[in-house]
C-alpha cells in the first residue's frame, strides 16, 4: 500500500462513519488511529454520548466480524472466551467441544467493562496483548485484525470494579467522550429522530486494514524524535532525573515502556494521515494525552487533591524540551 492510498482509505473510513456519528472528529480520528496502529481503545464517557454507536458504526464500515459483550457483575470469563461443552454424536459417544465466546471476533465492544469483576476483566488480558486465547491448555489464535473497544462510565462508580493497571496498560488509547456542542446536538436529533436512520457502507475490508497497519510501521522516525519520546516517558516518573514538576509531586508510577511504544506507533499513523512519511513533534504532542493519561498512576496526594492525570501529562509535555540540547 502506498501512503497516498492509505490517506484515501483513512479519509473514506472517516467520512463514512461521520454519516452516523455527529461531531467528535478528534475522537473519531483517534479511534481510527488506534485501529490502524493495532491497539485497543478504552472509551470513557457518560451514557448517551454515542460510544456504543461509534463502535457499531465502525464495525459496519469495516468488513470485519463484530461482537458486543455487555459486562455485568455476574459475567464469567468463560462467557467471554468460550468453554468446552460435552457433546454427543449420533452413536451416543460423548465428547468435549469448544464453544467459542464472543472474543472470537475482530471488533469486540466491551461495553461498561468496569462492571465486571476483575477476574472477568482479566480474561481479556491475553486476547488484547497476544491476540490469542488459551482454554484448557489449548491455544486459539484470534483472527487479525483484532480490535477491542471498551467503554466505561466515569460517574456511576457504585457496583463497579476499576480496571487494574495491567489491564489499563493494554489499551493503546484512553479516550474521553465529551458532551457534544449545541450545534452537533441539533444535528444528532435530526438524524436520529427522522423516518430513516442513516446507513453506512462497508468501505474497508480486513486485509486493507492489515496493510495499513503494516505501512504505518514503515514510517521513519528521526533519532531526536525517538529521544524525545523516551524523555517524555521518563518525565512521567517521579523519581526520574528529568521528571516534570507535577509528576514529581502527584505521580506514584509513571508510564511504562508500553506507553512509549503506543505513543510512537500512534504518531506514525498520524504522520501518514497528515501526509508525511516521518513522525514530527506535533504528532507526539497531539497524541500525548490519549496515549499517556491512563498510564500515569496518581499517588495519594494527587488523588486527594483531585488532580486530573490529563493535567499531569500536559505538564510533562510542557516541561520536556523537544531537543535535549539547545541549538
Amino acid at each position: 500500500m502506498e501512503p497516498h492510498a492509505f490517506r484515501q482509505t483513512f479519509a473514506r473510513l472517516r467520512s463514512e462513519i461521520q454519516k452516523v456519528i455527529v461531531g467528535h472528529e478528534a475522537l473519531l480520528d483517534e479511534v481510527l488511529i488506534a485501529l490502524v496502529a493495532g491497539g485497543h481503545v478504552l472509551l470513557e464517557g457518560v451514557p448517551g454520548l454515542g460510544k456504543t454507536l461509534l463502535v457499531k458504526t465502525l464495525a459496519a464500515t469495516l468488513d470485519l466480524r463484530y461482537s458486543r459483550i455487555q459486562f455485568t457483575p455476574d459475567l464469567m470469563p468463560a462467557d467471554i472466551i468460550g468453554t468446552n461443552v460435552v457433546m454427543q454424536d449420533e452413536t451416543g459417544r460423548r465428547f468435549f467441544e469448544f464453544q467459542r465466546g464472543p472474543i472470537f471476533s475482530q471488533i469486540v465492544l466491551a461495553d461498561e467493562i468496569n462492571r465486571a469483576t476483575p477476574k472477568t476483566q482479566s480474561a481479556l488480558l491475553e486476547a488484547m496483548q497476544e491476540h490469542s486465547v488459551t482454554v484448557a491448555g489449548t491455544h486459539y489464535q484470534l483472527q487479525e485484525p483484532f480490535f477491542v473497544l471498551a467503554t466505561q462510565n466515569p460517574i456511576e462508580m457504585e457496583g463497579t470494579y476499576p480496571l487494574p493497571e495491567a489491564q489499563v496498560d493494554r489499551f493503546l488509547f484512553k479516550l474521553r467522550v465529551p458532551f457534544p456542542p449545541l450545534a452537533d446536538l441539533v444535528t444528532i436529533m435530526d438524524r436520529t429522530t427522522g423516518p430513516e436512520a442513516p446507513a453506512v457502507e462497508v468501505v474497508t475490508p480486513g486485509p486493507i486494514v492489515l496493510a495499513m497497519q503494516a505501512l504505518a510501521r514503515e514510517v521513519a522516525v528521526a533519532a531526536h524524535v525517538k529521544e524525545y519520546v523516551a524523555r517524555l516517558i521518563g518525565a512521567t516518573h517521579p523519581e526520574g532525573e528529568r521528571a516534570a514538576s507535577m509528576a514529581r509531586r502527584f505521580v506514584r508510577y509513571g508510564a511504562s515502556p508500553r506507553g512509549a511504544q503506543a505513543l510512537l506507533l500512534a504518531a506514525k499513523v498520524r504522520a501518514l494521515v497528515a501526509g508525511r512519511a516521518n513522525v514530527s513533534f506535533e504528532d507526539l504532542h497531539a497524541l500525548g494525552l490519549p496515549a499517556l493519561r491512563h498510564r500515569v498512576i496518581l499517588n495519594f496526594e494527587g488523588e486527594a487533591e483531585g488532580v486530573d492525570p490529563d493535567d499531569v501529562v500536559r505538564n510533562v509535555l510542557e516541561e520536556t524540551p523537544e531537543l535535549a540540547a539547545r541549538v
Binding site: 521513519a220 528521526a222 533519532a223 508525511r276 516521518n278 513522525v279 541549538v327
Partner: protein, 516 residues
C-alpha cells in the same frame, strides 16, 4: 542514500544565516564585555595606577570581538543535523529535514518509506522560503551594548586620569609630575649643550623633551599615557641617534683593536687634534712663521698625520699629510687651505659626535623616567640591576646600558640601594665578608666616646696624621668594563694629559681590557 540537492542547498543557506546571526551575538557580547571592562578600568584607575589604558582595552576588545564575529560568520561550523533541527523548527517542516538527514547519514534504519521521506523533504525544501525566519538581525542586547560602548568611550575621555585623594593612583600622578619636572631640567641641559656645541638634532630634541616634560606636569596624565609618550620619544631619539651613528661610522677615528666603535665616538677626544690643527693653521697663516719655523711645522704636521688611529679619522690624517707635503713643497697657502679643510671636517665630525652623545644621554634619561614611573619608587634599583657585575661584556648591550645608567646617574638622584648596603665599614649586611678591616694609615687610632644627645652640643674632631700604608689592592680586577675604558678616554681628553703619557695610559687600559 544521499541527501537531495534541494535539501542540501536549503540547509547550507540556513547554516550561513545561523552562522551570521550567531556571529552578531558573539560580536555584541564581545563588544559589551570589552566596554564593560573598559568602564571598570576607568573606575579602578581613579584608585590604582593601572598599567593598561581603558581606551586600549576597549579598542582591543572591539577588534577581537569583530574578528571573532567575522570568523564565526565566515566559517559556519554547525553540523547539518543541528541546522536541520533549527530549520525544521523555524520553517514548520515537521522534522522532515532532520529525518532526511538522519536517513542520509545512516543514523536511523532505512524503511520502505525512506524514499518517500526524501521526496517529501525535497518537495518542501524547494517550496519553502527561509528569508523571513532566518533574517540576519542584531540581537536585542545590541542597543545596550552600543550604549555601553559610548559610555566607556566618554568615561575614558572624561574621567581618564582623574585620581582620588590619598590613593596609589594619586601618588603615581604626583610621581609623573615629578618626573616631568626632572625632564624639564634635562631639556634645559640639552638646550645648553645644543647651544654650546651647535648641534641641530639636540636642539630639536630639547624642544620635544621640554614639551613632553610640560605635558607630564599637566593634571590627569595617567601612567599609561606617560609611559607611552616617554617610550615614543625615546624611540624617536634613538632612531635619530642611529642615523647619526651611521653617518659618523666611517668617519670616526678607530684604532686597530677589538674595542667597540662606540668607545671612540666621544667628541672630547677630538678636542686636542682640533686645537692642534687650529694652532698649525694659524701658524701657516703667518708667512714669517712659515719661513722661520718651517722645519718645526713640518715636524708637527708629520707627527700629527702619523698620530694614533684612535685620535683622528683616516681622511683627516690624509689631509694633514697632504698639507705637510704642500708645505714641504713650499706651497704654504695650499697647505693652509688643506689644513683648514681638515679642521672643518674634524669639527663637523665632532659636532655629530656631540649630537649623538646628547641624544644618547637624553634617551637614557627618558628611559630612566619611564622606569621610575613603572617601578613607582624614584631612583629605585630594580631586581634587573642586581648581578650586573657578571654581565659587563662589551657584547652585552643591555648590561652595558645598565652599567652606564648606574655610573651616569643624575646628581640629584639617590644612589641605588645595593644588596650589601651598610653604614659602617665592615659591618654591612654582606653575607660574605671580604676580610678583616685593614689599617689605611701608618698610625694608631684614638678611641674616644662622646656623651650627649644627637644633633646637640659641640662637635669633637680629632685628626690622625700618618703616611698611607703601602699595601696591594685586595680586590683584583678581573674584567674591565668597556664603559670604564670610554670614561677613562673622556677624562684623559679633558684633563689635558700630555700626548706621550696619554698613549701610555691608553695602553694600560687596553691591556686591562684584554685580560680574561
Amino acid at each position: 542514500m544521499t541527501l537531495p540537492p534541494e535539501v542540501l542547498a536549503l540547509l547550507r543557506r540556513v547554516a550561513r544565516a545561523l552562522a551570521w546571526t550567531q556571529a552578531l551575538v558573539w560580536g555584541t557580547r564581545g563588544v559589551g564585555a570589552a566596554a564593560g571592562a573598559s568602564l571598570l578600568l576607568v573606575a579602578v584607575g581613579t584608585i590604582l595606577p593601572l598599567p593598561i589604558s581603558p581606551l586600549l582595552v576597549l579598542g582591543a576588545g572591539l577588534t577581537a570581538a569583530g574578528a571573532a564575529a567575522l570568523l564565526r560568520g565566515v566559517v559556519p561550523a554547525r553540523s547539518l543535523l543541528v541546522v536541520a533541527h533549527v530549520a525544521d523548527a523555524r520553517l514548520g517542516l515537521a522534522e522532515r529535514l532532520s529525518t532526511a538527514v538522519d536517513l542520509a547519514a545512516g543514523r536511523i534504519q532505512k524503511t520502505a518509506l525512506a524514499q518517500a521521506v526524501m521526496a517529501d523533504a525535497t518537495r518542501r525544501a524547494g517550496a519553502v522560503v527561509p528569508g523571513a525566519a532566518f533574517r540576519i538581525r542584531p540581537p536585542v542586547s545590541a542597543r545596550w551594548t552600543a550604549l555601553t560602548v559610548v559610555a566607556a568611550l566618554l568615561a575614558s575621555l572624561s574621567v581618564g586620569g582623574l585620581t582620588l585623594p590619598a590613593t596609589p593612583a594619586r601618588q603615581k600622578a604626583a610621581q609623573i609630575r615629578s618626573e616631568g619636572r626632572r625632564l624639564e631640567q634635562v631639556a634645559r641641559r640639552l638646550e645648553q649643550v645644543a647651544r654650546t656645541e651647535r648641534v641641530p638634532e639636540a636642539r630639536r630634541a630639547a624642544q620635544q623633551v621640554r614639551q613632553l616634560a610640560r605635558d607630564l606636569q599637566r593634571p590627569r596624565v595617567d601612567r599609561v599615557s606617560a609611559e607611552s609618550r616617554l617610550a615614543a620619544l625615546e624611540r624617536q631619539l634613538e632612531g635619530t641617534r642611529q642615523q647619526l651613528s651611521e653617518r659618523i661610522g666611517p668617519a670616526s677615528p678607530r684604532p686597530r683593536s677589538d674595542l667597540p666603535d662606540a668607545l671612540f665616538r666621544s667628541p672630547a677626544m677630538l678636542d686636542q687634534p682640533i686645537r692642534q690643527l687650529r694652532e698649525l693653521a694659524a701658524r701657516l697663516a703667518d708667512s714669517q712663521g712659515v719661513q722661520g719655523e718651517r722645519r718645526d711645522l713640518l715636524q708637527q704636521l708629520s707627527s700629527l698625520s702619523q698620530a694614533g688611529e684612535g685620535q683622528m679619522p683616516a681622511a683627516v690624517r690624509g689631509k694633514v699629510e697632504e698639507a705637510r707635503r704642500q708645505v714641504e713643497a713650499g706651497n704654504a697657502a695650499a697647505g693652509r687651505e688643506t689644513l683648514t679643510q681638515a679642521l672643518q671636517d674634524l669639527e663637523a665630525l665632532r659636532a655629530m659626535m656631540a649630537d649623538e652623545q646628547a641624544l644618547s644621554e637624553t634617551a637614557r634619561e627618558l628611559q630612566r623616567s619611564a622606569q621610575r614611573i613603572a617601578r613607582g619608587a624614584p631612583g629605585g634599583s630594580g631586581p634587573e640591576e642586581e648581578g650586573l657585575e657578571g654581565d659587563n661584556s662589551p657584547a652585552s648591550a643591555p648590561g652595558r646600558q645598565r652599567l652606564i645608567d648606574r655610573e651616569e646617574d643624575s646628581p640629584g638622584a639617590l644612589p641605588p640601594k645595593g644588596p650589601h648596603e651598610g653604614s659602617t665599614p665592615g659591618q654591612g649586611r654582606a653575607p660574605e665578608k671580604l676580610g678583616a678591616q685593614t689599617p689605611r694609615l701608618e698610625a694608631s687610632g684614638e678611641r674616644s666616646r662622646v656623651r650627649g644627645q644627637e644633633a646637640r652640643g659641640g662637635l669633637q674632631t680629632s685628626e690622625i696624621l700618618g703616611p698611607g700604608r703601602r699595601q696591594p689592592a685586595r680586590t683584583r680586577v678581573v674584567k674591565l668594563s668597556p664603559a670604564v675604558v670610554r670614561r677613562a678616554d673622556e677624562h684623559m681628553a679633558r684633563a689635558r694629559i700630555p700626548a706621550d703619557l696619554r698613549s701610555l695610559v691608553r695602553r694600560y687600559f687596553e691591556q686591562l681590557a684584554r685580560r680574561p
